[in-house]
């Protein structure tokens, strides 16, 4: 199966949506019902924690099997959370790798623009895929509530200029998937479901301080005058030597 970035060069929301619905083998599973969403209740509560340029996108997921599936063979499931990050923010893939080593996630990957130092105008959208194990035979346990929080460290880029002094970055609700590996003979089978939450999540916003274009003239003039004055002043005693 080809990944999105093997098929497309850049990230476009609609193309990515098409990829998730058409290209991925979602909700097709011979062992599990394809209407899995009707058998479970799922809610996600996302918020941005912290202040300043380094924050955490915290997503608390509550997952409950309303009608358990007793006939399913031994299976192991994990949640896959896909966050689409606008160009104003980024995740540091190396920071995530360290979190992976500390077993905060079971797997993680970053796609798209992972250049850490570019300002917003020169950067592009990135996609983060976080995997979180939720355990063995989870679909067989009736009314079992699974509740976990994923904290994703985010960093803001220097935004484009804006006269209001702030630029707002909007983060959409993540795409959620459930991947279950089912033990069967002779081969294990993997099923993949796109999950739907019970409530529609509103976009999260993050205000990032931005420079004002109207400052440019004064700032440039004073900057160069200060450099010239300072160089003259610092050279004065040198000329006396």
């Amino acid at each position: 199966m080809e990944s999105y970035y093997e098929k497309h060069e850049s990230f476009i929301d609609s193309l990515f949506d098409d990829f998730l619905t058409r290209d991925l083998p979602v909700n097709i599973c011979e062992v599990l019902p394809s209407d899995l969403n009707t058998l479970l209740s799922l809610s996600i509560w996302s918020r941005i924690k912290g202040d300043g340029s380094h924050r955490q996108l915290s997503s608390t997921i509550k997952f409950k099997i309303e009608k358990s599936l007793f006939h399913v063979p031994t299976h192991h499931c994990k949640f896959i959370i896909i966050e689409r990050l606008p160009s104003g923010v980024f995740v540091d893939p190396f920071e995530l790798e360290h979190l992976l080593h500390r077993a905060v996630f079971s797997d993680v990957a970053v796609f798209g623009d992972t250049h850490l130092e570019l300002p917003s105008v020169l950067s592009n959208i990135s996609v983060v895929e976080v995997h979180k194990d939720i355990g063995l035979n989870i679909l067989s346990h009736n009314k079992n509530l699974i509740d976990f929080t994923v904290d994703l460290p985010l960093h803001s880029r220097y935004p484009r200029l804006d006269e209001s002094g702030y630029v707002e970055v909007r983060l959409k609700a993540p795409d959620l998937f459930l991947q279950c590996s089912i033990q069967e003979k002779p081969h294990n089978r993997t099923c993949f479901f796109r999950l739907e939450t019970d409530d529609e999540e509103a976009d999260l916003t993050w205000s990032i301080p931005a420079g004002k274009r109207s400052d440019a003239g004064v700032v440039s003039a004073i900057t160069f005058v200060s450099a010239l004055l300072s160089s003259t002043f610092s050279l004065e005693p040198a000329q006396e030597v």
């Binding site: 380094h54 850490l116 420079g211 200060s226 300072s230 002043f233 005693p237 040198a238 030597v241």
Partner: protein
Amino acid sequence: MASFSFGSLLILSAIFRFVLILYGEWQDANMEVRYTDVDYIVFSDAASLMASGKSPYLRSTYRYSPLLAFLLIPNTIFHRCWGKFLFSAADLLVGYFIRTILKKRGVPENLCIGSVMVWLFNPFTFTIGTRGNCEPLVCAMVLKILLCLMNGQLLQAAFWYGLVVHFRIYPIIYALPILLILNQNVFKSGLNPALQKWSKGDETAPQSNLPSRLAHIFNPLFLLRSIMTKERIIFGLISGSIFIFCTVVFYYLYGWEFLHEALLYHLTRTDPRHNFSIYFYHIYLHHEHEFSVVEKLISFLPQLVVQLVLVLSFAQDLPFCWFAQTVAFVAFNKVITAQYFVWFFCLLPLILPWSKMKLKWKGVLSVSIWTGAQLHWLMWGYLLEFKGKNVLIQLWIASILFLAANTTALSLIIHQHKPSTLFVLPETAVDNAKKSKKCK
């Protein structure tokens, strides 16, 4: 102060650094804010890539020589703290070099110890090595070059100079004063150059004034006869060859990425993100378009003029020249981070014995102005970066005040400095001989 022997000072510093490294491990594991420098994680990742046979430049933001990643390979094999111990050992080595240089220049023991303490117990320096910053390695190489020049070991000095410029580029600013000091009358083959000894009095070494030095250096005959000496050619060839050798080898191994990340990036770096430089906000406000050549030249001009005047004024007083050059280079740079301060902190102890500045009150005033301006900047920086407040204008004004503080401190230091040539210059020797004849 003399009761504190140099050996016990070094042992105490080593224990202190060891404890700080252990504390750093604890803070990293238990507190939200890490003790370890984020660059150390970058170096370690690059070293780990190198250990697995890959290019260290696969680690984004690794912008150093592959030699650094190579030196940190034991981080992946033995322990992640290896690099911190290595950098702290280099930090102690700098202390040892400071003492050796001062002793060779005839500085009394108590002044030597005091000067060494300014390095070993400077909060900037002991935290930088223990947090995993590589600058102590650069400082050690810079002082080794000075020591080699003082010992007349021209080839060794050239080797280390080529290597340090490959490793960190900024010591390229020392090229001109080194070439100027390589006087054929000072460096006689087979003999150690005679060092000008420290003296308590107010007498200063004679030097021609700046206009005559300028006239001298731009005189075509001088250029031909004086500049093209055997010592200068040897130094230039050896150091240049080492630099080119490292560049070619690493280009062969890691290709364009090495050239771009380790060399070109530093030469063309214009960072729109906030830093101590007065240029940061100007760069950010214009980051959506390319800078014109004129704009680039205007911002480079103060740096160039200051460097040239300092070199022509103080080249023969080499440690002081390097110190003044480095302070000015950092102050006028387009990007300034706190780690750059270590570049001149390692040279500060070498000039203190020649300063007329008393700790009370001019010394305290200089330190207070510099530290106060920096703390003021850090306050606005904190509000912007960690509180998300739009204080870009205030932060930029704080950068201008910091430049003013640097300029004031440098100006005070130059005013209070007793010029003393590093080597006994031939003309000085003749003057001294004449003086002693008259006395007879």
